[in-house]
């Protein structure tokens, strides 16, 4: 039987010395290889690890059993971002952010702006997810992002970013685009619209270069 203490992300490690990269270094990794892999904790891992994708975005799966997966990702010289609102077993709050920090996660994504400070405080890159629904919601969303001060904004659905770029405000931080990004043309159009990179579950695109 497992002892309860061994379930803690770092408790069974003799020495945990991992420190996430600072947000600038995280952004540089994405800029160099802008197609990031969107995966679940159970599917797509092996292919993502073998791809050129610099960052693996974990959008589903068991958030309480991530430590081993995080170590595998780091061993492959990749970074890992976890969507705290979507993974199972976690409630999106400061305690779950602390849990992910203990697991060695490099970046945390959330639609909850109030978590951005906790993510940054945990030494991780804070990614604020912005859902594009209606033009009339944009002002509210931009105000929320101004308050939350994330390191990166992730916009969904990313595939329409080129069409709506003209109505988008200028953000002071880099933008990632995810959602229905399926072809190299989609990627090129999104990058041309000013995005830092894309997150996609289309495996053929993982690690696609911007050139």
């Amino acid at each position: 039987m497992l002892r309860a203490s061994s379930l803690l992300p770092s408790a069974c490690e003799k020495s945990v010395s991992y420190s996430p990269p600072d947000p600038g270094a995280f952004i540089d990794r994405v800029a160099a290889d802008p197609c990031c892999a969107a995966i679940t904790a159970e599917e797509g891992i092996d292919e993502a690890l073998e791809s050129r994708a610099p960052v693996l975005f974990i959008l589903r799966g068991n958030g309480l059993a991530l430590a081993h997966l995080v170590r595998r990702i780091h061993a492959a010289d990749k970074l890992v971002a976890v969507h705290v609102d979507l993974v199972g077993g976690l409630h999106a709050d400061r305690a779950s952010v602390d849990w992910l920090a203990r697991a060695g996660v490099d970046a945390v994504i959330s639609s909850h702006g109030q978590l951005m400070a906790a993510i940054r405080h945990g030494g991780m890159t804070a990614i604020h997810r912005l859902l594009l629904a209606r033009r009339s919601h944009l002002d509210t969303a931009v105000a929320a992002i101004g308050r939350s001060a994330p390191n990166i904004i992730e916009i969904l659905p990313g595939v329409i970013l080129p069409s709506v770029a003209a109505m988008m405000p200028r953000f002071d931080v880099p933008v990632l685009a995810g959602g229905f990004v399926r072809t190299p043309d989609d990627v090129q159009a999104i990058l041309a619209a000013g995005a830092l990179g894309v997150t996609t579950s289309t495996r053929a695109l993982w690690g696609t270069s911007s050139g």
């Binding site: 209606r134 033009r135 959602g179 399926r182």
Partner: protein, 194 residues
């Protein structure tokens, strides 16, 4: 109030309004008015005016509950035949009463859209609101086939070209009044050329 003898039709173009100013459906095309982001008193006032709405986004009306009583009120007392909602049971209730219920299908990514569709009642009289509407231009045939009809596309449709493209895929679109005028001019102009 009695149920309608025949289920209402969804107009091809719904002009969005918050109800604070009178918005009329443009003449000469298959159009109506959607009221949203308003409050209960304004909704009641607009329903009794000379330009009553054809549709209401019921979840965005401050003061209105999210239950069967609310659906019965807007479809019965206010005689608004089309109800948009993110709650499957409310869309089904509108359909049960002989009206049209349109359930929001949130299409931010493929996984999320699939989850959104899992809760769809898939019964007669309940269609779908694809949100944001512009994304419909990027859905595959098999994804489109999974979305119960009629399909209304709603959100971020900002140009005449986008509006026409969405109309070619969906049954109806939601546009702001300023775009509605441009779109109608374009559509009527095209018909005149023919």
């Amino acid at each position: 109030m009695a149920e309608p003898a025949e289920r209402p039709r969804l107009p091809s173009i719904l002009v969005a309004s918050d109800g604070h100013h009178a918005v009329h459906a443009p003449p000469g095309v298959d159009a109506g008015v959607l009221i949203r982001d308003t409050d209960l008193a304004t909704l009641v006032h607009r329903a009794g005016s000379d330009c009553p709405p054809d549709a209401v986004d019921i979840d965005s009306v401050a003061g209105l509950g999210s239950d069967d009583h609310a659906v019965d009120f807007v479809t019965g007392r206010l005689a608004i035949p089309i109800v948009l909602t993110r709650r499957p049971q409310l869309a089904a209730r509108a359909a049960e009463r002989g009206h049209v219920g349109l359930l929001h299908v949130f299409a931010y990514d493929s996984t999320g859209m699939a989850r959104s569709l899992e809760g769809h009642p898939r019964c007669e009289g309940v269609g779908s609101v694809v949100t944001p509407g512009l994304v419909i231009l990027h859905l595959r045939e098999d994804e489109l086939a999974e979305i119960p009809k009629p399909i209304l596309t709603y959100g971020l449709i900002d140009t005449v070209e986008d509006a026409r493209a969405c109309l070619a895929v969906a049954d109806a679109i939601v546009v702001r009044p300023v775009l509605a005028a441009k779109l109608v001019a374009a559509l009527v102009g095209a018909d005149a050329v023919r």
